[in-house]
Symmetry: C2
């Protein structure tokens, strides 16, 4: 296949880690949420083998956050997703398909409950912020909706636990899957979740203090030498092997959640109110036509 | 500046013209509305000079359409834009900043009024469809909102008029700026507007019949030899020279329309109801802080 260059512009935003990964040998980008997302550091096969055995640090700042806060924030977040969040807990991540009025998918983010009235929607590649703003304005909800300065760096691979323990101490090993907490790096608190876009295990650091995040990035490479740390990015081979679906690639706004195998995240029997609920009941009762 | 490859994937959609422009020597892409938009055919300087003197055919399918139809469609489109559309006419294009509840820009599309209850919003690079869906659901509007199969090809440059007259006849020369009408190409009707993302003059063909559109693309290059037709794309040099602003590059959801010099499209004294109206009145009365 012929290679084409990517034409950089302000519209395709760089990340706080872009200059670092370009020194480290990134060779290809994709665009995700209007931002540069590294797609290859040379051979994807080599990167795949490395990821399965060691540890990689990924610039996944393109996983943007939609912050919803205020009195009606819980109501708005619930309205947007077919997953019942009535028993959700602060400090936990939830995989939440976002659904439109027709029962079709808008996005499949991970939702972080920061406190009772503050949520981050960590989005796949579509502008969820405008869906949220439209719904909030139409329903006259008392909420603030912003895209905060948050740039995620992921630490993925079997050696990620040993590496992160060396930097953050034993406490980070106790973090459960899809849990998050705050961890100190040289006097700055970072929100870190046990999550990531591979099945090799690892963490995602939600960097709000950019300067500290960049220092942490460098530190991970310094400390990680003994674990054979390398730069990387979500890996196509690993993603297919692990059956990780992706909005835009594997499904989009023409598909409903049943068609994507998201049945367990569709809480049709709950009391909660969400968009497309009646439509999804109808779709389910009539039988799913494609998978 | 170092070159990086673009990693193609299903998520970055191809257009009906992609295989053609790749044969014609496209060298760089950008991503716009999750789709490939050509960004260079070799030297941007040479392409600029060619555009100013001759005629180019552009694959701008990435200018996607949001189709809003139904009983409340006019109400929804008006709610989304600060431009007074109460006197808008079928067959005309309108440059319409789209504004959120905070008075900030969501997009700056061209809106086509297809009939009293059917509109196309020809969008810049953000997911207006989800803003429209959120607003429609929140307000319980009776509308249908879809992304129709429409792929725009632009014919731009001083010789575009002579070329289009040769293909479509004299009637197309009479089309006024920002007017559109339907023109026959070998038995298939195409919606064609006198518009485009350059100041060199020209047309945009809103291709709904893909096969006929591809034949038209080939025909334009066949017939256009005498006018020195070439492939091309929105040109950075020409855009700067002509002061054509671009959502994402020159302004975004952090800016209000006054800051972008869109004052004449902000109808604060009208009777129409649009989002952010009170907020924009307040901003105007307090004075604009940046430009």
């Amino acid at each position: 296949m012929k290679n084409f260059s990517i034409a950089k512009s302000r519209r395709l935003r760089s990340t706080p880690f872009t200059s670092r990964i370009e020194k480290q040998g990134v060779t290809a980008y994709t665009i995700y949420n209007h931002m540069l997302l590294p797609a290859a550091f040379g051979s994807i096969e080599d990167s795949y083998k490395h990821l399965k055995e060691y540890v990689q640090v990924w610039d996944v700042a393109a996983e943007r956050q939609v912050e919803v806060s205020g009195k009606d924030s819980g109501k708005l977040v619930q309205l947007m997703t077919c997953r019942d969040l009535s028993k959700s807990k602060v400090g936990r991540c939830y995989y939440c398909p976002i659904i439109d009025d027709n029962g079709n998918l808008v996005n499949d983010p991970v939702v972080l409950k920061l406190d009772e009235n503050k949520w981050w929607i960590s989005i796949a590649d579509s502008d969820v912020i405008f869906f949220a703003k439209g719904l909030a304005a139409g329903n006259k909800f008392d909420v603030d909706i912003t895209e905060p300065v948050v740039d995620i760096m992921a630490i993925q691979g079997p050696k990620s636990f040993a590496l992160m323990e060396k930097v953050f101490g034993k406490k980070i090993i106790e973090l459960k899957f899809f849990g998050f907490d705050y961890f100190d790096f040289k006097g700055i608190k970072h929100l870190i979740a046990r999550s990531g876009w591979s099945k090799q295990g690892g963490y995602e650091v939600y960097v709000q203090n950019t300067e500290s995040g960049q220092k942490l990035y460098d530190q991970l490479f310094e400390v990680g030498k003994e674990f054979n740390v390398g730069p990387g990015c979500p890996n196509l081979i690993e993603r297919i092997e692990s059956a990780l679906l992706s909005y835009g690639n594997d499904f989009d706004n023409n598909d409903n959640p049943f068609e994507c195998g998201f049945d367990k995240y569709v809480s049709l029997d709950s009391d909660v109110n969400f968009l497309g609920k009646e439509k999804l009941k109808k779709i389910k009762s009539e039988g799913i036509k494609k998978k």
